[in-house]
Structure formats: C-alpha cells, structure tokens
C-alpha cells in the first residue's frame, strides 16, 4: 500500500541510443525545403504577394507615394482625397504606355524629381491652386507608372498582380495622409515638415544618382 505502480523498465537505466534513422530522415526532410528557399525568387512573377511587394520595396517610389498623402494633408480637402483618387489611374496609364512599348525619356529623373518637389512642397507648406497640384502629381504619376510597367514580370495572374500593386500604392498614400493628420496636434506640424524634408532629401539623393 502507498506504493505507486510503475513499469519495471523505469528502474532499469536507459541506454542512450543514437537517433533512429527514420527520425534523421524526417528531420532532414523537414529542413530540406527551407534550404531550397535560399534560391527562390523573392518576387515571383505575377501574384498577389509579388504585386503587393513591388511598390513597397523601392525607396524612391515609397517616399513619393507617402509624399502624395502628406501633401494632400497639407493642402487639405478636396486635395486630401482628390490626389490619392487621381494618382492610381494616371499611374496605371503610365504603366499601360510602358506595356505598349511607348518610350518615356527621363523616367528615373522624373521619379527622383517627384520626391524632391513634393518633399519641398510639404517642407515649405506650399499651397498652389488645386489644378496645378493635381497636374504636378499626375505628371509624376506617369513616370512612376511607366517605370513599374516596364518592370512588370510576365506571370500567370496579371490582374491579381496589378490589383495588389495598386492597393499597395493606395495604402502608401494612406500612410502619408495619416502622417499628415498629425498636423492637428501640437508639434505635429513640425513633424510633418520634417517628414517633407526627409522625402526631399531622398529625392535629391535619387536625382543625383539618376543624373550621375
């Protein structure tokens, strides 16, 4: 009484055997696909994920898209929503031109200028007439779209790629708008101007590289 039952083998010291061959094979099999990823293309052609990643992996594009939202916030309504509304179709128009093989000179310079100009607009809180702001942003959108259109890979799901690509661009605008909304709080205005300065600097850096 009072003694717990336990299997007799518990009292025998266990022999430390090497890993069973089956387990070794299993571990190797589990690890093997991970090794294969080393040579995988990070941006496989034509897919939702590839399309989404495409615009957010290029710094020049990212800062310009955020700057569209930032500038919209500085300009206030209706530019706040009009610029992000107009940008994707005009950008896609640039992409369409590239896909049709229509050349556009100075694409890289145009993209770099977009960051520089819009960054300066935000930094100095410049408020041109709406038509001029829309014209500027639309012109830059064509350059961005053309560059992306020329880089679009041939894939199995072109529409999914395009849709994800456009959504990612729109979300970058949204990030800019949300950042710009910081102007409502004390110190937020300086923060937004600082962000504009950062965008302009990145634009300047890309412009120097494009002209070099």
């Amino acid at each position: 009484m009072g003694q717990c039952w336990r299997p007799s083998s518990w009292s025998v010291p266990r022999r430390h055997s090497p890993l069973p061959p089956a387990l070794v094979v299993l571990v190797a099999a589990v690890l093997a696909p991970a090794a294969a990823w080393a040579h995988a293309d990070l941006h496989p052609g034509g897919g939702l994920v590839a399309g989404f990643l495409h615009p957010i992996t290029g710094l020049d594009h990212v800062v310009a898209m955020v700057a569209v939202g930032l500038w919209g916030a500085v300009l206030g309504p209706p530019a706040l929503w009009l610029l992000p509304l107009a940008f994707p179709p005009v950008m896609a128009l640039g992409g369409l031109l590239a896909l049709l093989g229509v050349p556009l000179p100075g694409v890289e310079v145009g993209i770099a200028l977009s960051g520089l100009v819009m960054g300066l607009m935000v930094l100095f809180e410049l408020r041109p007439p709406l038509w001029l702001a829309a014209l500027l942003v639309a012109s830059f959108a064509v350059f961005h779209g053309h560059a992306h259109g020329a880089e679009l890979p041939a894939g199995a799901h072109p529409l999914l790629y395009s849709l994800a690509f456009v959504i990612a661009t729109g979300l970058l605008h949204l990030v800019g708008i949300l950042l710009g909304e910081a102007r409502r709080w004390p110190g937020g205005r300086a923060l937004v101007r600082l962000a504009g300065a950062g965008v302009a600097l990145v634009g300047l850096w890309f412009l120097e590289r494009a002209l070099a």
Partner: protein, 199 residues
C-alpha cells in the same frame, strides 16, 4: 434500364467529367462554378464596380441589383453555352471593367441616371455571363457550374450591398470612389498586359 434511369446516369456521368476552365474544388460542378467567380478576378472586379455604382445611386436601385445581376449573368451564360465555342473577349472585358471603375470613381459628379445604370448593368452582366458560359460550353457539368456561379454572384452581391447599404458617411463615400479608382487602375494595367500577351 428505364428512360429516367438512363438520363440520371448520363447526367451523373457528365457531371463527373472535369471542366477544362474550372479549378476542381472537390465539390462537384456546383462548387467548381461557385469557386470560378473567386478565381476570375476580372469578373469579381466587375461585380464590385457595379455594386459601387449601385450603392452610390441610392437604395432603390441597389435593392434590385442583387436580382438583376445574377439573372442577367445566368441568361448570358446560357447563351454562351449555346454558342458552343469559347469567346476570347478578354481585352474588351478589361476595357469595360476599367470604364466601370472610372465611372465609380467619378459617379457623384457624373450623376448617371438610373436608366443608364440599369441598362448598363444588365448589358455588362449579359456579356460577362456570355463569355463565362462560352468558356464552359461543351464540357460536362457546364450547366451546374453556371448555376453555381450565378448563385455565388447573387450571394457576393447581396453581401456587398448589405455591407455598403446607403446612405454613406463621408469617409465611406470617398472610400467607395477610391476603390473605383483602384479598379480602373488595375483594369488599365490589365489592358497593357493583354496587349503584350493576349490570352
């Protein structure tokens, strides 16, 4: 074997044949047809764009859309089955989706009439249904797949209409226009793709 028994056996056999333009879901032609809508982004985009246009134009039209859209699609699909060969209208379809996206982005300013919306919706649904039906023509289980797709269209439309029931707060009204602009942009890029690599 009796007549009805033979017909049932034939129907069952036809239904089990694979459909070249459907991804097998394991749920039979009905399920494959339902899944087709989700796997055909262009069709889905058209549906979303038409819903956007409808909800921007008040409740009276959007309430009828859940009926008009799947029925027109089904009628067009039946016509497509009768065509007997696949219609290659991807370029036209992409252009139309782009146009509807542009209209959805601009709608409050354009003030499209209800008659235009009704006619346009019915015509587009007929056309897209026709293309869908023609891609299924000649395959076993095509009719079930087409019916499954029409049911999926009805369900998705109803869900979207429920979620986007007008009137809209200002932020949502702007969001609807923004989605319209994204659809237009995607359609434009699709046009470029198709011109480079015709399907």
């Amino acid at each position: 074997m009796s007549g009805p028994g033979t017909a049932a056996a034939l129907w069952s056999a036809l239904g089990s044949l694979p459909l070249a333009h459907l991804v097998p879901t394991g749920l039979g032609p009905w399920g494959d047809g339902m899944a087709r809508l989700m796997l055909q982004p262009l069709d889905l985009l058209l549906l979303v764009a038409l819903v956007l246009l409808a909800v921007q134009n008040g409740r009276s039209w959007s309430d009828r859309l859940a009926l008009v859209l799947p029925l027109s699609w089904l009628v067009g699909g039946l016509g497509g089955l009768l065509v007997g060969r696949e219609l290659h209208l991807a370029l036209l379809c992409a252009a139309l989706v782009t146009a509807v996206g542009v209209l959805a982005a601009l709608e409050p300013a354009l003030r499209l009439g209800k008659r235009f919306l009704r006619g346009g919706t019915a015509a587009l649904s007929l056309l897209f249904g026709l293309v869908a039906g023609s891609s299924l023509a000649g395959h076993g289980g095509a009719l079930q797949a087409l019916l499954g797709e029409a049911v999926a269209i009805a369900v998705v439309t109803a869900l979207l209409l429920m979620a986007l029931d007008p009137p809209h707060p200002r932020w949502l009204a702007l969001g609807l226009r923004l989605i319209g602009s994204w659809i237009a942009a995607s359609g434009l890029l699709m046009l470029g793709w198709l011109s480079r690599q015709p399907l």
